[in-house]
Symmetry: C2
């Protein structure tokens, strides 16, 4: 069953993407960020998406690749193209405000592209936040909108706090159930600190994304407790069985480790998105496959902007201080030892160390680091199967193939 | 170290409270809800808290006991009394608006009682939500405010969605660190459904509260992975060591099970509370002990109300539908079997069953059930050590002792 819904999983973490890249034979060819963007714009325009919308969607996808979130980048391109090709998404449409107050807006996404709907809503939220301190915009009839953190970035650029959430197709079982009833339902919060630093949390409310189960499966390795369920609804360590079952566990895993909190968070996102927007919610949301869907997704999403200047002055200074406190927390100790024998005695000497590969990170640090690495290398290193997909797309859509450095 | 900060742990779950009650010898005496409230009001008034403020604080505490959240009920009374006695909380003060827009307010809690500050802020948020769709109120200089869900209840009574968060004293280590830098930082969201039904999530962002570690310690039982760290920052299964170390793990536990998401959520709460309000945050928050503190807590809190009628009509109908979907999800299967021998064959017969003790619950169901049980029994059953504390308080403050049914 998971095979069918695999791409519904929002948020494969950077960590798992890194593992994918390490495990597989990565291509030595690099693609410039600009070129990746150009290729995607060409693809969208080939299926009659207006240039301005194609650019918005491509900006979102290439930003994910730049940050190392490959699952949310060009990896999604073919699915979007298929949806557009089948007219189950309308690439040309402009979202419409149905109702508004100085602080809120209810938007009909009109089944447009996720990035187009999302950008429109966040811009509106930002405008309202600048006027009255908060902008709270809910969209129905939206589509898959990529990284939730993309939209919070726009708010941060304006010195605001941004939040964004979306519902997704069912893939997570409520605690005590063997049946998926909520999606990976991600949430993001971005808060600006001084000199471009930030706190940017962007997370699915499931314990892990499907991608991590796939990786264990390919490695023929067991799953840790708390990732996925078997068909009876019990925790499984069998990656193949988990993959076939298609029932992820909420953040926290089992009930004993408070998985009901992760389930509750998935519910919180569903309440503020699907239910509040009057969109599809819970099991009413369709399945979504690589081949594209035949029905409208009608996802619900929320975009919130808050102006910290309406509260205590000096928000960014305090954010910088808090980020510093967190990054400078004493790291986990690793003990190494050696021993020697002297006369009848054995001496053990322990040395306390820390793992330099595991610094304490603030949410968003990993992604910033990945962007720096890409910039230093001069381009993005895609997996060969991604490049193959691009090659197929360029032939199918009759556009200029992806160019390498 | 945990001994000193034990009471900072917000949110011992109902489940753990139930275990405490089962484990310990519970008193057979019942206390009427009204009487528990009367006793607490008398206590507060004895330390010069004006009647109206005493009532607000007592309402909050007795509501927690009514719901089965004993850790957040009368259990806290002595600490509040001690803080008031030492003047580290000012029981008479009225919160003050420092800055406001139609949708926001920044409030100075003036070091008043948590319930007084919280109620004031949520009422303000409700008023704003009724005018412009959203009310977002941030308070600095507040104190421990009890159950986060208490404030969302008020919003729900008005047909609104309520959210509330507070920072607390450091007790959770960032992922990869051995040092506590964030509190249990709870968050709550309440959304009304039809006929008094609701979705009410009220959770700490740590995996478990300190109370659960105490229980394992008393049982001399090991901790599951993912609850707490040892002094090196590694997961420990040793309840005594965990208790001494005082470093809870975030929701999700270790990095492999996505504990960094729980850490991120704790950070989200800190950003929206301590940092945004200009209150203390992260390691700047004081420790808090049973004896009371000598310094002002200056906690940061946020209270949000949103009017769902500013978006799609029929919100409560959809909430009822979603709650129904979740509650009716197929429960986890348990397999029992019997076997018999016939000629040379052994026959096994498996039967698929579910555990009637483990229905699928919507956040808030457990608490509603507990309220019904208390009402049916006619009163609250407190632990003997709680009754002993009440006895001591009545002598110390010279008030009428707690009466039983």
């Amino acid at each position: 069953m998971l095979k069918r819904v695999i791409t519904n999983s929002a948020h494969t973490s950077v960590a798992s993407d890194h593992i994918v890249r390490t495990m597989a034979q990565v291509s030595q060819k690099l693609v410039k960020v600009e070129e990746s963007r150009r290729f995607m714009i060409d693809c969208f325009m080939a299926v009659k998406v207006p240039k301005e919308h194609a650019e918005q969607q491509a900006d979102l996808l290439v930003a994910a690749d730049h940050r190392g979130h490959f699952s949310h980048g060009m990896n999604r391109l073919e699915m979007y193209i298929n949806d557009l090709d089948k007219n189950s998404t309308d690439g040309a449409i402009i979202p419409k405000i149905l109702k508004e107050t100085p602080a809120t807006a209810w938007v009909d996404g009109q089944n447009g592209l996720g990035a187009v709907v999302g950008n429109y809503c966040m811009e509106l939220a930002i405008k309202k936040a600048k006027n009255v301190g908060v902008g709270w915009v809910c969209a129905k009839r939206s589509n898959h909108y990529g990284m939730a953190g993309w939209y919070t970035n726009r708010a941060m650029e304006e010195g605001l706090i941004g939040m964004s959430m979306t519902n997704t197709s069912p893939l997570m079982a409520p605690t005590r159930s063997k049946e998926a009833a909520l999606g990976t339902n991600p949430l993001a919060l971005g808060a600006p600190a001084k000199n471009g630093d930030k706190f940017l949390l962007d997370m699915a409310t499931t314990a892990v994304a499907v991608g991590k189960i796939e990786i264990q499966r390919r490695k023929n390795a067991p799953l840790p407790d708390g990732w996925a369920q078997d068909p009876s609804g019990n925790v499984t360590n069998d990656a193949n069985l988990a993959f076939e079952t298609g029932c992820l566990m909420p953040l926290g895993g089992s009930e004993i480790t408070s998985g009901y909190k992760g389930f509750g968070l998935g519910g919180l996102v569903e309440v503020l998105c699907g239910v509040m927007a009057g969109a599809n919610y819970s099991t009413h949301v369709r399945k979504w496959t690589h081949a594209g869907a035949n029905s409208e997704a009608n996802l619900g999403q929320v975009f919130i902007a808050v102006d910290p200047n309406q509260f205590a002055d000096g928000f960014e200074e305090r954010m910088t201080d808090m980020n510093g406190i967190l990054r400078n927390c004493a790291p986990v100790s690793i003990y190494t030892y050696f021993f020697f024998k002297q006369l009848k005695f054995m001496f053990f000497c322990f040395s306390e160390q820390t793992d330099p590969q595991k610094p304490v990170l603030v949410p968003g640090d990993k992604e910033s680091q990945n962007m720096k690495e890409v910039d230093l290398a001069g381009g993005i290193q895609y997996l060969p199967n991604q490049l193959q997909t691009c090659d197929n797309l360029s032939k199918r859509l009759n556009i200029k193939p992806l160019q390498f450095i």
